[in-house]
Amino acid sequence: MTGIVDTLTLTAEDALGLVERREVSPTELHATYLEAIAARDDELHCYLRTVDEAEGTSIPIALKDVISTRGVETTAGSRILSGYVPVFDATVAERCKAAGLSLLGKTNTDEFAMGSSTENSGFGPTRNPWDPALVPGGSGGGTAAAVSAGLAPWGLGSDTGGSIKQPSALCGNVGLRPTYGTVSRFGIVAFASSLDQVGPVAKTVRDVALLYRIIAGRDPADSTTVELPAPVELPTDERLDGLRIGVPRQALALEAIAPGVRAVFEAVLERARELGADVGECELPLSFDYGLPCYYLIAPAEASSNLARYDGVRFGRRSAGTTYREMVERTRDEGFGDEPKRRIMLGTYALSAGYYDAYYGQAQRVRTLVVREHAAAFERFDVLATPTSPTVAFPIGDRAADPLAMYACDLLTIPSCLAGLPGLNVPCGFSDDLPVGLQLIGPQFGENTLFRAGHALERALALDLVPGRLRG
């Protein structure tokens, strides 16, 4: 590549410095990333579409295609939204614009963010930059793969049950799912409203903190948002002295965790102790026994309702029909892929008269217990740690036919999502030459603690996270 910078290694923070010192212009930087995309994205398919003109005074950003962008087609990875061009910006897109960031493009996602591999995209899968035969994780595989492949300095994803953290783990970068309510959902194509949360993906913890600072804070257009209780701090400390790290016994007991992942995780705990942390065991029995089934009642129930608006009447795709009913049925039949259909059916069933108490109602009660169990753990610990994903990236097609195997990808990320808590993926080593991610969970509004812990570990581990095969 002939570019002025090496996008494979350039952090957002460094890029911001270059622009600030006028060593590179926003337009040049934007163009450099477009060149990288032109060179590598035919293979990887991180982007559903790119934006040629740099509109901004700062560095570029990639946005997951569930984020509404005024004047730029937004499909959420679904054919039912083909051709839909929002007339308004999501609040997070607006805040990025206000910060001078230029929109580089919209990244691929599992349809309506439903999936853990980005194979459910209505527009074809994204491939893992470490090995194109493998999945990048999901649903935010497009953003995660783009950051690791040097196709964006940073990006935004959305996380319902692990869609930021898990792809970051599988692609080897840093991803934050913020505390529920700290980032506006206005303009985010909804999957499960009580769980959806937008968050940053970048190469370093400091980059993630910088981007979180841009997007976080109360939005009058989203009633569920709150003001941050404290400003976002950029981490500098390289020690973990006095940090109490809790490891949920029930998480480690899961057989699904691959031996190679387990070994890397145990090594990083040892490293944390060396840096001064106190590592102990904690108990989250209900969260790990019932978290996944509880999630797969609540999320589909909300999804079944959120996806009702795709009827072909006002926007997006419309199939022909001789009656209103036939038009709606055919639009939804032809427009939705298998996974949204599966979840609409699950959710409709869970909310039906006579089943509500046993399914949705019961799941909400379990959710309350999950919240309490986590709160109790944070009385003794500052952060909790688990592997982010039970396995490293797996081959495309491996789990596509087995929904339950796919759902199990999120075994470790889901409990804290149900509890509304922040979670940070930090790369912590390799297994079979593929990245392994560490999941750090914080208490409500504990982002600054996560950044401090993540940053210290990141510095200590000093991993080379450029996919070898992409090195020129």
Partner: protein
């Protein structure tokens, strides 16, 4: 066997807030179709609702006026169903935790006061307006095509549900008159049925007198005036009694009231079973009105129509009190009485003549009106009517009218009567031949000749005496 009707009402009131329930689009009539819309009320992907604070205060205010308990925590819920007037595929409403519960309204009836329980009053958003074009059914099933105007979509609605405490069409009508007046006086809605800002569905069943069972009920929709509601309910009561008495069984059903024929037509069975899959709206936080807000709203409540009917009813009677209060006329009546007018006479003038003349009661000076009421039997009828028609005009003075005396003196009237009889010999002949009805003709002629100043009763007697002499 005699039967007792059991009636419950479901009332939807469109609030006249400046903006919609969950977005900032203006609320109002008459705008061009689909110009008062935005991504939120059109249900675009990612758009989120933000509740209207005024609407939340107003449902509390209305609930308090209906004697309800105000929930310290109300929860919005999604009611899920597919229809083109519902852009999100769900309506945001309240379900198991509504804003107001357990109220009651005292309805004055000729045989005393009757209590109607208010089960709940909750807040929700209105649907858009469908216009089904072509076909004969007036429904989407048979239409050639359907147009949707989303201007109305998202307008704040309060749904009020009564207990099945109403036992006649007349009682339903009185309850609604009282409710409507309460809503209007609170200033939260125009509550006009013709405009659709007040909509009423009635649930009707009947049971043998003295029984306390609840038999199968039917719902009547689409009634656009209180009179139609009463007719619709009566028609349904008769229908159900006939079914039971012929040995049949009433089946649960929904009917439309056909205004033109005054009959009930069966509504096509719903296309789906009623499973709305309610669940708490995750895009909104619970509504928790602070106690001091509720107390402030309670303190701000004006004296309500039901209380005023009771108070006015002690000076008049319940019937007159009901008419005055539900017509919004009791204020003027009271002020007129305070100026010395006799209460019943003042009530008759205010409730009948003033309304009949189309006078705006708010513009009337009660002191001038009191003078007219006092002079009503003394001054010529025509002069009185003229005065009433103008009593609302700016700067109106009763004085010139009060000087006009009715001509009842026989000496003054006699020559005129004689002249009229002389001018109409044929009619005189016919009257004397037995055509009594012609009396009115002669009286009318005399009144015309005296330009209404003659005392009609005196003329009557004089004419009769002359003809029968």
């Amino acid at each position: 066997m005699t039967w007792e009707p059991v009636i419950g009402l479901e009332i939807h009131v469109q609030l006249k807030t400046r903006t919609k329930m969950f977005c900032r689009c203006p609320v109002g009539f008459g705008a061009r179709e689909n110009t008062q819309t935005c991504p939120v009320c059109l249900g675009f992907p990612g758009a989120l609702p933000v509740p209207n604070r005024t609407a939340i205060e107003w449902v509390v205010k209305l609930g308090l006026a209906l004697g309800c308990e105000v929930a310290s925590r109300a929860v919005f819920a999604r009611k899920n169903y597919f229809y083109p007037d519902l852009p999100k595929g769900y309506q945001i409403s309240q379900y198991d935790l509504p804003s107001c519960i357990n109220g009651k309204v005292i309805v004055p009836l000729p045989d005393g006061e009757h209590e109607v329980g208010i089960v709940r009053a909750h807040l929700e958003e209105d649907a858009a307006k469908n216009v089904h074009v072509g076909g004969r059914t007036g429904r989407i099933g048979g239409a050639d095509y359907t147009l949707v105007d989303y201007n109305r979509g998202g307008t704040p609605l309060v749904e009020i549900v009564t207990a099945p405490d109403i036992h006649s069409a007349e009682e339903a009508k009185r309850f609604l008159q009282l409710l409507r007046q309460t809503i209007v006086e609170l200033g939260v809605s125009d509550a006009e049925m013709e405009k659709g800002t007040l909509r009423v569905d009635a649930n009707v069943s009947v049971r043998p007198d003295g029984s306390d069972e609840l038999r199968t009920r039917c719902e009547i929709k689409n009634m656009n005036s209180f009179t139609h509601i009463a007719r619709g309910i009566d028609a349904e009561i008769d229908r159900q009694i006939a079914v039971w008495e012929s040995g049949g069984e009433v089946e649960q059903h929904t009917y439309d009231f056909d205004v033109a024929t005054g009959t009930l037509t069966s509504r096509r069975a719903k296309e789906e079973a009623d499973d709305y899959r309610y669940f708490p709206e995750p895009d909104l936080v619970p509504v928790e009105p602070p106690a001091d807000l509720v107390e402030r709203l309670r303190a701000e409540l004006p004296e309500l129509p039901a209380e005023r009917i009771r108070r006015v009813g002690t000076a008049l009677d319940h019937e007159r009190a009901l008419v005055l209060v539900t017509g919004g006329l009791d204020g003027l009546w009271e002020a007129t009485v305070a100026q010395g007018a006799e209460p019943v006479a003042a009530s008759n003038v205010v409730a009948n003549q003033l309304v009949g003349a189309g006078v705006d009661s708010a513009a009337v000076d009660p002191a001038e009106l009191a003078k007219l009421v006092a002079a009503r039997d003394r001054i010529p009828r025509k002069a009185f009517d003229e005065a009433i028609a103008m009593v609302g005009d700016p700067g109106f003075s009763a004085a010139p009218y009060l000087e006009l005396e009715t001509v009842s003196d026989a000496a003054a009237l006699e020559p005129i009567v004689d002249a009229i009889l002389a001018a109409n010999p044929a009619q005189v002949e016919q009257y004397r031949g037995g055509k009594d009805g012609l009396l009115g003709f002669f009286v009318g002629q005399v009144m015309k000749e005296t330009r209404g100043q003659a005392d009609a009763r005196a003329v009557n007697e004089l004419v009769r005496a002359k003809l029968e002499a």
